[in-house]
């Protein structure tokens, strides 16, 4: 049966160990463990399937692993290499669909909804394409959503490809569900719930009283329901806010005393926004009074900005209006972001765009304080 949504979960088989084994034919078929020096309380990062047969798994203390497989080959990892291969694999995925969401260095979700052909055939094609490009094996789990695709990649591991539908998982133990860890499984075990089928028969209210708010999610997962989308590759979730603050060496109340610091934190905030590719439309001024009381004031801008000068203008207006007693700290943050690469264009663009672009280049090479606005000059001269 072909699912409506076609979600694939690709999980690289023993990723770190397999990368280490590339070009080292002599190690093939041997138990290989990737991890640090056993003398330094290090843990297993990854291991080959040959080592797993002895009970070794990632996260296990190296000393314990060594006692299980005394003849294992120990290799220390080379993270840069894992990343290089990870990029190469990602490029392969992107030839199949733009909706690729890499959840870690060695696994990713792919959304192939709307593509033709059998889903398993597609999975095998991807597996082969990854192998052709990297000589690494992966398992491709298929399902109507992320939950089942991920359960499928676990189930068909290693070098496998297969589909799981909601009815297929009923015989699985509860621990196979995403989000059911050891402690949740134990709680459910106390009620005699060991399989997903038994879990599915529990009324919603009962589940919620056993597991709290987490129960709601488990209720849906037991039914194989999961609506989470696979986002387009490169989709960035906007940060909640970004900002900087400054603590004064002595409390200050006058604008001429706090303005240099305020100008500097606005500069840092603007730089960060531009670097991250975000524009914010809310400016928040925060300050702390002598008695440690924290006060915040917000101003909504007419249009989103990543310009220090615009942020400073809004922050200064609020500071002049509200600060009427000594403060020990002042800070600014911006929020409500939109990506600058899809920014609304303006008839009268902010005049500082070019200026800040040049200043950023200088700062990237010579440091934050290499180029500052006149208003922040006193700050870097260390008078505050």
């Amino acid at each position: 049966m072909e699912p409506d949504r076609r979600i694939l979960h690709v999980d690289m088989d023993a990723y770190f160990a397999s990368v280490e084994l590339l070009g080292r034919e002599e190690l093939h078929g041997k138990p290989v463990i990737i991890g640090g020096d056993p003398g330094f309380r290090s843990v297993v990062t990854s291991c080959t399937y040959e080592a797993r047969k002895f009970g070794v798994h990632a996260g296990m203390p190296m000393t314990r692993a060594m006692s299980l497989v005394p003849h294992a080959v120990i290799l220390s990892g080379s993270f840069a290499r894992y990343r290089t291969y990870s990029h190469r694999i990602l490029k392969v995925f992107l030839t199949f669909t733009p909706k690729v969401h890499a959840t870690s260095i060695d696994e990713a979700f792919l959304d192939l909804t709307g593509t033709s052909g059998g889903i398993i055939d597609r999975a095998l094609e991807i597996q082969k394409a990854v192998y052709d490009a990297t000589s690494l094996w992966c398992t491709v789990g298929c399902g109507p959503n992320r939950l089942l695709a991920k359960m499928a990649s676990n189930f068909y591991k290693p070098r496998g490809a297969g589909l799981l539908m909601p009815d297929d998982i009923l015989v699985f133990p509860v621990g196979a569900i995403w989000g059911v860890g050891a402690s949740t499984a134990e709680k459910l075990g106390m009620f005699g719930i060991d399989t997903i089928e038994k879990l599915k028969n529990l009324p919603r209210g009962t589940l919620r009283s056993i597991l709290g708010s987490h129960g709601e999610e488990i209720y849906r997962y037991a039914r194989g329901i999961d609506d989470r989308p696979v986002k387009f590759f490169g989709h960035k979730t906007p940060p909640k806010s970004m900002g900087h603050e400054h603590t004064f060496s002595r409390d200050v109340a006058r604008p001429d005393e706090y303005m240099p610091a305020l100008a500097m934190v606005c500069q840092k905030t603007g730089c960060r926004a531009r670097e991250g590719g975000w524009q914010g439309s809310v400016v928040t001024l925060k300050y702390r009074l002598r008695n440690m009381k924290r006060i915040t004031r917000r101003k909504i801008l007419a249009s989103a900005t990543d310009q220090d000068q615009t942020i400073l203008a809004a922050a200064e207006a609020m500071a002049r209006q509200y600060i009427d007693e000594p403060v020990r700290l002042i800070g600014v943050s911006i929020s409500q972001f939109v990506p600058s690469k899809t920014a609304q264009l303006s008839f009268f663009p902010e005049k500082t765009v070019e200026l800040n672009r040049v200043a950023d280049t200088v700062r990237n090479r010579y440091g934050d304080k290499a180029m500052v606005s006149g208003r922040a000059l006193e700050y870097i001269q260390g008078r505050h």
Binding site: A314, A343, Q344, F347
Partner: protein, 372 residues
């Protein structure tokens, strides 16, 4: 002590005219009052937020001359609910009683001194008379495009007004969209160029009369007079941005589309569009335009709209809300999008302009990721 009798309906109309000038919130308590002041056999009603002041005169039977300031919103609420033909008002000390038929109310009140002084009236010879309905039409066609109060550049929060012996031109822009109307049927003997607060113009929109609106400017103040009601407004400080320069001259690719078709399609796309950017993609092809919206959290939407277009295909994205605002304020059956490329402002006009009206709107697109 002030005491008078006033016709209920006249009183309510007068209060309605001035109450819109009451500030929504104020740190000066006296500004939440409406001033009632006798003047011969007339009653003067006034409200102000210090930038905009509305004054109206209504006939009344005055028993005792004087003035009193009453809580504006409460007074309007009470008078709106009264039933009866005459309302009698009398003040004793700091209490004012309002009675009508069998109802009576008592409100706390303040003296005349507590209320700001009103702008001095303008002599008739300094006023220019203009047709009220046409002026209001020009306001409606532009006022929606002004920047919100949070705009840092004050000049963009107002409407630019340019009256001379040839026409009245009104312009509004928030930097992202612009609306400009030029009405050749409205002319003035003397020239007035000013940036006007939208609040004053919205108050003017509420007034209807067969009589013309008389306009005059003195220093930084402009005033509008319709029948017995006067609106005084402080001009917004300029200069107004060089709007003529931002109107592109080389937009020769014309897309013609039914206004209601594209409006309702945009309304559907908006359901899915990103709630922060309202971004909607327009793919303009031979005789059709494809609208698309997508939001990773909400899904995707697409609609083909029939159009007339025979130039090179073009992709351009907009904040859908800006386009909808523009279309909502147009009347013609078809509208024309004058296009150039995906990063140049787009001119939107009505296919058939009303006589004597030259109406042009402009909107900046949203940057497309692959154009940078």
């Amino acid at each position: 002590m002030v005491k008078f009798l006033v016709d209920h309906k006249t009183f309510l109309n007068g209060l309605n005219a001035v109450a819109s000038a009451l500030p929504p919130k104020t740190s000066l308590p006296s500004l939440s009052n409406i001033l009632l002041e006798t003047d011969g056999d007339q009653l003067r009603l006034a409200a102000t937020d210090l930038d905009t002041t509305v004054v109206t005169l209504i006939p009344a039977t005055i028993s005792s001359q004087g003035a009193v300031a009453l809580p504006g919103k409460k007074l309007l609420e009470i008078v709106r609910e009264l039933s009866g033909s005459d309302v009698s008002i009398s003040t004793t000390g700091s209490r004012t009683s309002i009675s009508c038929e069998k109802s009576s109310f008592t409100l706390p009140c303040s003296s005349r001194d507590s209320y700001p002084s009103l702008p001095s009236s303008v002599s008739d010879s300094d006023k220019i008379g203009l047709p009220l309905n046409l002026v209001n039409k020009a306001i409606k066609k532009t006022a929606y495009a002004v920047a919100g109060a949070s705009e840092i550049r004050a000049s963009l929060t107002g409407l630019f007004w340019k009256l001379n012996s040839e026409s009245l031109e009104m312009v509004a822009t928030d930097g992202h969209r612009l609306a400009k109307v030029k009405m050749s049927e409205i002319t003035g003997d003397s020239e007035i160029e000013a940036i006007l607060a939208p609040k004053a113009l919205n108050l003017l929109l509420k007034l209807s009369s067969e009589q013309p609106v008389f306009i005059s400017s003195q220093g930084t103040q402009i005033s509008f007079h319709v029948d017995d009601t006067s609106i005084y407004s402080r001009m917004i400080e300029g200069p107004y941005p060089p709007y003529e320069k931002v109107i592109p001259q080389g937009n020769n690719d014309i897309l013609k589309v039914n206004r209601e078709d594209i409006f309702s399609a945009l309304k559907r796309m908006r359901i899915i569009a990103n709630p922060a950017t309202h971004q909607i993609m327009f793919t303009v092809e031979h005789n059709r335009v494809i609208l698309q919206a997508e939001n990773t959290d909400a899904g995707e939407a697409r609609e083909d709209v029939e159009a007339t277009y025979d130039k090179d295909p073009l992709q351009i994205a907009f904040n859908g809300n800006l386009i909808m605002d523009i279309l909502r304020n147009m009347n013609s059956e078809n509208v024309l999008f004058h296009l150039h490329d995906s990063s140049t402002a787009v001119i939107i006009t009505e296919e058939i302009q009303e006589e004597g009206t030259d109406y042009l709107t402009l909107v900046m697109p949203v940057r497309l990721p692959d154009t940078v």
